[in-house]
């Protein structure tokens, strides 16, 4: 583990220029992330940033961290593998609502139950942006898109309740309506020792609905700290999370005050136990050779 030193937001900004549509909410997410990483102070080469596929999944390329723009829906298993192979890395995962809750929806549960020390940022725009505006799992019922020309018949997934129900130790929400709040929330998520989830309401200006643009979000946003929410109260968090889609609660819904050990730490412990009295590596073949 390296010593932390002084870094500035610009140190995490790569030379690659984002090709998101002008005005896309994802620009704010990358800004918030630069600030959060600067506050954490780990050098970029000690950060691994893994994403799936989607507009939002381009984000690792815009940072100086090691990045891997993987396969649609598979950011989390790959991030998990990286964390287990090299637990000293600060591992971040990111992607869209489609990536995380549609094709990749099955993975979250397993990272949560194992409590892998990864921060997962979902840029939730309630649409498939990259593929030009199809219905996503978080799209509102009744939403008209190219794949739902008469209006969607499906209820949306509630990402906050989803991860809270699986027992995630850190669950928060942010939006570009409050950049400083977003940076602080991402920083807190990264500092949480275990699986941390941040849902960012990140408007798609090209295919998103009017109500989900910044002005609409501002009108429904409410800061959790300002309304006196206690982030140690999981049931209160679940109660508030039910309002996903109608209200935009910003800040930390839930933070386990007594974080359980992480899977990566347990694995290291188990490896240490099993290696006690084990043969040195160069004699491992002896196990298979009958004397």
């Amino acid at each position: 583990m390296s010593a932390t030193c002084e870094f500035q937001a610009k140190d995490y900004k790569s030379d690659l220029k984002p090709i998101w549509c002008p005005g896309c909410g994802d620009y704010s997410v990358v800004q918030g992330l630069y600030r959060a990483l600067a506050a954490i102070g780990r050098p970029p080469h000690e950060v691994a940033f893994i994403s799936g596929i989607g507009c939002s999944s381009r984000i690792p390329g815009y940072t100086t961290a090691y990045g891997f723009n993987t396969v649609h829906g598979r950011a989390l298993p790959i991030a998990q593998g990286i964390k287990l192979a090299n637990p000293d890395l600060l591992v971040l995962a990111a992607g869209g609502d489609g990536d995380g809750f549609s094709i990749g929806g099955g993975h979250i549960a397993h990272l949560i139950r194992r409590n892998i020390d990864i921060t997962y940022i979902v840029m939730d725009n309630q649409i498939y942006g990259l593929t030009k505006g199809q219905l996503s799992p978080t799209s509102q019922k009744g939403r008209t898109t190219c794949t739902s020309p008469y209006g969607s018949l499906e209820n949306p997934v509630n990402p906050l309740l989803y991860v809270l129900a699986y027992g995630a130790g850190f669950v928060a929400q942010a939006s570009p309506t409050d950049l400083a709040g977003m940076a602080a929330t991402i920083e807190e998520a990264i500092r949480y020792p275990g699986f941390a989830f941040v849902n960012v309401q990140s408007p798609c200006v090209t295919y998103g609905e009017e109500a989900q643009q910044i002005k609409g979000l501002k009108a429904i946003s409410e800061n959790l700290a300002a309304i006196g929410h206690n982030p140690a109260d999981r049931l209160a968090a679940m109660d508030l999370a039910q309002h996903y889609g109608e209200k935009l609660h910003l800040g930390v819904f839930y933070k386990n005050p007594e974080p359980p050990p992480t899977y990566d730490a347990l694995i290291r412990e188990r490896q240490a136990q099993l290696s006690q009295g084990a043969l040195p590596k160069e004699r491992i073949l002896d196990l298979f050779i009958k004397k």
């Binding site: 998101w20 549509c21 002008p22 896309c24 620009y27 942006g129 990259l130 400083a180 643009q213």
Partner: protein, 173 residues
């Protein structure tokens, strides 16, 4: 964001520092918008956003000079986290294929927003010097609006056409 500032107890040094941060934030946002316009081959809008960035930087520098004359190198106690989008246009004000007129209108809306910020803060201010500074800043926002309006007036008359009338739907990334 106004709620994070304790206006009643704001000192002149903190008020000047906040004013510098507000200009700095606006400058960075305009630079970012200019970069987005460059990336999407909209050079006229990029040029205008760059002009705005230069203006914000100039104003920020004037305020920073005043601050250092009055308070030297005394450590700053206010932070960027205390302000958000005061004079900077909202993130989603940028658009693909922005015309110069649209870019100018976005800037004008931001100057109006900044004016409203100073107007809203005034009643809470207790220190007479801070009040005078905020009044000055409020009035400068009107001057900034006039500058943008002057740029708007230089444009050929609005054709009434929108970008959607003659370009393809933006390609999603």
């Amino acid at each position: 964001m106004a709620a994070r500032i304790d206006f009643a107890h704001l000192s002149l040094m903190d008020a000047l520092d906040l004013a510098v941060l507000i200009e700095e934030e606006a400058k960075e946002r305009y630079e970012e918008f200019a970069a987005q316009m460059d990336q999407h081959r909209t050079p006229e809008a990029a040029k205008f956003f760059r002009l705005m960035a230069v203006n914000e930087a100039k104003h920020g520098q004037e305020l920073a000079d005043r601050r250092s004359q009055l308070f030297g190198t005394a450590a700053r106690t206010v932070t960027r986290a205390m302000i958000f989008d005061v004079e900077a246009p909202d993130f989603d004000e940028a658009r693909a294929f922005m015309s110069p007129r649209q870019a100018m209108k976005a800037a004008l809306a931001s100057e109006v927003k900044a004016h409203a910020f100073f107007v809203a803060a005034l009643p809470a201010l207790k220190d007479a010097k801070v009040r005078a500074l905020f009044e000055e800043l409020r009035d400068e926002e009107v001057e900034h609006q006039d500058l943008v309006k002057a740029e708007l007036a230089k444009l050929p008359p609005d054709s009434g056409l929108s970008d959607e009338d003659f370009v393809d739907e933006p390609t999603a990334q």
